[in-house]
């Protein structure tokens, strides 16, 4: 479905793991997230991750704009659920870290995504192990390369733009393979 770049988009509310936002920061294309998402919820435990990645200022800017909203702290019950989810993520064959503590932020954002009062219709997750568990939980997923692909379909990005955007993330260490970048560029670029 091709849409014109200036056509009105009905933006959606999502929850977002750290990875997709980091990718958008790495390539300087937060505008792509702003185009499709009216509110992006994150879990409290993710804030420390953004600080660790050197993206505290970028996150702060988006929070001030009201694009990113820090969800309320998890209740005791929710924390228990998050720990169980984190253990399941850690146990996935595709998980690179068998210690569940390292997966608590993505587990917490899954809990946030499932809060009915927030109206999150998708969760942005780029890590395979977390995606597997999120799907088992019935959450609907997308990710940063998916946003880039959609922007290509909407006529906002050429094939070369897509290569450039995803390569900038790759050059800064994000795990997008050359084949993946080429696939997204050739399939979705205008």
């Amino acid at each position: 479905m091709m849409e014109m770049p200036n056509e009105k988009i009905d933006k959606i509310t999502v929850a977002c793991n750290t990875g997709p936002l980091i990718s958008a920061f790495q390539c300087g294309r937060i505008d792509l997230l702003k185009r499709y998402f009216k509110t992006i919820y994150i879990a409290p435990s993710q804030v420390a991750e953004f600080e660790k990645h050197g993206a505290a200022k970028e996150l702060d800017d988006l929070t001030r704009e009201g694009v990113v909203v820090l969800a309320e702290a998890l209740t005791a019950d929710e924390k228990e659920q998050a720990e169980m989810l984190a253990r399941r993520i850690a146990a996935q064959p595709s998980s690179g870290d068998p210690d569940y503590h390292g997966h608590l932020p993505e587990a917490e954002v899954m809990i946030v995504a499932a809060r009915p009062e927030l109206g999150c219709v998708r969760i942005l997750l780029d890590e395979l192990a977390a995606r597997t568990v999120a799907e088992e939980e019935g959450l609907r997923i997308t990710g940063f390369p998916g946003v880039v692909g959609r922007a290509g379909l909407d006529g906002l990005l050429t094939r070369n733009d897509i290569r450039h955007v995803l390569s900038l993330c790759q050059q800064q260490g994000t795990h997008y393979s050359d084949q993946l970048i080429e696939h997204v560029a050739e399939t979705y670029g205008r």
């Binding site: 009905d10 499709y36 690179g96 219709v121 692909g149 993330c169 795990h175 997008y176």
Partner: protein, 92 residues
């Protein structure tokens, strides 16, 4: 020099092309659903539209609101198609 931001989850497994295709479809579906909600809300909030819908349902011409709206659009499309064909818009 441009600021560099450290990657997240260095050990994480890679997304496949199939994963991204599913993600694009999933995002597109969510955007379409949101658009459908807005359009339905705006139509159904109009008292004149609600009155017409109620009359159509009470007459038995349509089983439900969805059918009434869909048939209304098809009827309008058929009615306007000669004009479209004349202007070349019908072939798009």
């Amino acid at each position: 020099m441009e600021k560099r931001i450290a990657p997240h989850e260095l050990q994480a497994a890679l997304l496949s092309a199939e994963d991204v295709d599913k993600d694009v479809a999933s995002l597109s579906e969510a955007l379409m659903e949101e658009r459908a909600r807005r359009i339905a809300r705006n139509v159904l909030l109009r008292p004149d539209m609600r009155q017409i819908l109620r009359a159509l349902l009470e007459s038995g011409a349509c089983e439900n609101e969805e059918e009434a709206i869909a048939r209304g659009l098809k009827t309008l499309s058929v009615a306007l198609s000669p004009a479209w064909e004349g202007s070349g818009r019908g072939s798009r």
